[in-house]
Amino acid sequence: MRVRSLDDLKAIAQRALEKLCGRRIRIAVGLATCGIATGAEEVYSAFLKGIESLKRDILLTKVGCIGYCREEPIVNVVIPGKALLLLSRVRPEDASEILKNLIDGDVPREKIVCRVKEWDHLLEKIHYGDGFTDVSLYEDTPFFKHQRKIVLRNAGIINPEDIEEYIAVGGYRSLYKALTEMTPEMVIEEVKRSGLRGRGGAGFPTGLKWEITAKSESDERYIICNADEGDPGAYMNRNEMESDPHSLIEGMIIGGYAIGAKEGIIYVRAEYPLAISRLQIAIEQSRRYGLLGENIFGTDFSFDIRIVKGAGAFVCGEETAMIASIEGETGRPRPRPPFPAEKGLWGKPTNINNVETWCNIPVIVYKGGEWFSKIGTKNNTGTKVFSLVGEVQRVGLVEVPLGTSLKRIVYDIGNGCPDGLKVKAVQIGGPSGGCIPEGLLDIPVDYESLKEVGSIMGSGGMVVMSERTSMVETAAFFVSFTSEESCGKCAPCREGLKQMLNILNKILMGKGSPSDLELLKELSETIKTTSLCGLGQTAPNPVLTTIKYFKEEYEELIKRYD
């Protein structure tokens, strides 16, 4: 059916709400990549078989991921009128027991993580109900307690392959509002007011970037979603696409309207097959419902989205390299200026934003920039999703207001290292980020504070390292990465990184000399200041921060040679 009005949206919402919290028992299996990797598909099949043999009218469905990777496979269940329950580490052989209990209005206690009385999807609230009062509440659970979900407001709760469930929780209402009540300028104004900064790493103000692109003289403009997510250890964007693809699509349609583009491209890395397939399903559904394509909501605005698959080159995450790649060329960065906002894809003004940036847009449009700007801190508004991984007990995806301290994330949410080990450092910002020592974990995560300590926000990878990690080896690990991924176009990055890696390896083999540290620092400065693109400009960060904060480890290795 084609959606033409707010009433159409509301009618669909009414119908789909029945699926989310209706008269039937609902069993939702978390089927994002991390769930699947721990056997969630087998769990789904086991429930399916069980339900068939019971001949009961139970709704079995798939959802994305709620972020608590440590507890995968995660299943959530709703008994009509009662609280939603999150179950952890569910195995196929648990299915029959859980089903038996559910039919009697109960759930095996040892499987329950927490209960949700009400879920705030921000555009809509779902009230599940009471019951299970002996089980702790979602908002009291250590892993979730300090989180605030804006980007991940729907992840793990709705079925990502069902546009109607997205509409049930307020989906596409922001698009309706933008197209029927706002001019493109008003949309840009709202995004500016929100203070939203790009979540792809550099933190450029999103509203301003949109304005520049919109004002560039041209008959055609493009928008691109950067879903290349190349930083190892980071998977926020994958989950955002797998768990709630319509949020991204709605954000992009609104962006297309504001900027004056008719076509949007999502550039996804080839390593994310499930994200690609969910996006494809979502795009087809949106077209079928008339939310993508010609004359959206009966207005004269038309817009469509297509997916372009990457081919395994880290540097293609850089915006000018990405544009080259979409044009079918080798993905080598082009000098800026001209910036893509003036001359981008096919030489036309082009606006590129990260997945997470786009996912914030529907909320900003609906709730207003003012509302958004009150979350986080003054110059760092909103939330950021981080992948809290490495040697930390509660691994997973966490979304917190910007300005939250690293300590809170690593200890209160993550519960520190496993096996009684001490935290030594937290690596933030991917291969171009820095290693922040335990002693500095009081700092708030915001773009400026991270820069001050020699790191960058990056896309949100946060790898915790324990006392048993060698920091010199870690530095070498990252330089070997960036050196291999260097596109080879400019000499400082191509040759300089190779040379740095040689020195680091020499030190690791116990053959370093004291002058090597000075040499590393000098090389770093040269590479930082003379490289063509961000890859080279930031690649020395892991070396510089480890020399700064863990110099004794270098000296220890060097001493062995003397």
């Binding site: 998977y235 390593e271 080798t330 993905g331 995806l397 990878g461 690990f477 990252f478």
Partner: protein
């Protein structure tokens, strides 16, 4: 040089017919072909250049630049171990060693029976379950050297 069968080359041609001529089709076409026949040998690259009407050197350049494209044939099952940061600090190194030992090959090589190719990846985005290994499209989390034999056994037929 191994010659591709006529049947395979026909398949490549059929795939290429779906794409409009010109460089902007190149990467998409290469993806589709590799999915079908597993790799992109020289004769395929030639055919691509001819059909899309772009220089052969351009095709070669693109195939070489992107890690995802392979110029050599691969085994029936490609075992890819993640060596991203999260997997690295959680012991990916010992998992990779265990694969090398069990399969009797080094990373980047294929077993003599043409069954398994061992490869390394940067990150599958399943870092919460590090270390992670992928076999074709199946993904395995929370790996350890002890689980290596178990995973391989599933594909030995």
């Amino acid at each position: 040089m191994v010659k591709l069968s006529k049947e395979k080359l026909d398949k490549v041609e059929t795939i290429l017919d779906r794409f409009p001529k010109g460089q902007s089709s190149l990467i998409g076409a290469l993806h589709a072909i590799q999915l079908e026949i597993g790799y992109l040998p020289e004769e395929v690259q030639k055919l691509v250049a001819e059909k899309l009407e772009i220089p052969e050197s351009t095709v070669y350049g693109v195939v070489t630049f992107y890690n995802f494209f392979r110029k050599e044939p691969v085994g029936k099952y490609i075992i890819t171990a993640c060596q991203g940061t999260a997997c690295h600090v959680r012991g990916a190194g010992s998992v990779i060693e265990a694969f090398e030992k069990t399969l009797g090959i080094k990373v980047g090589h294929t077993t003599p029976d043409g069954k398994f190719t061992l490869d390394i990846a940067r990150c599958f985005g399943a870092c919460g379950l590090a270390p992670v290994v992928m076999v074709n499209n199946d993904i395995y989390g929370r790996m350890s050297p002890k689980k290596v034999e178990e995973v391989i056994a599933k594909y030995r037929d």
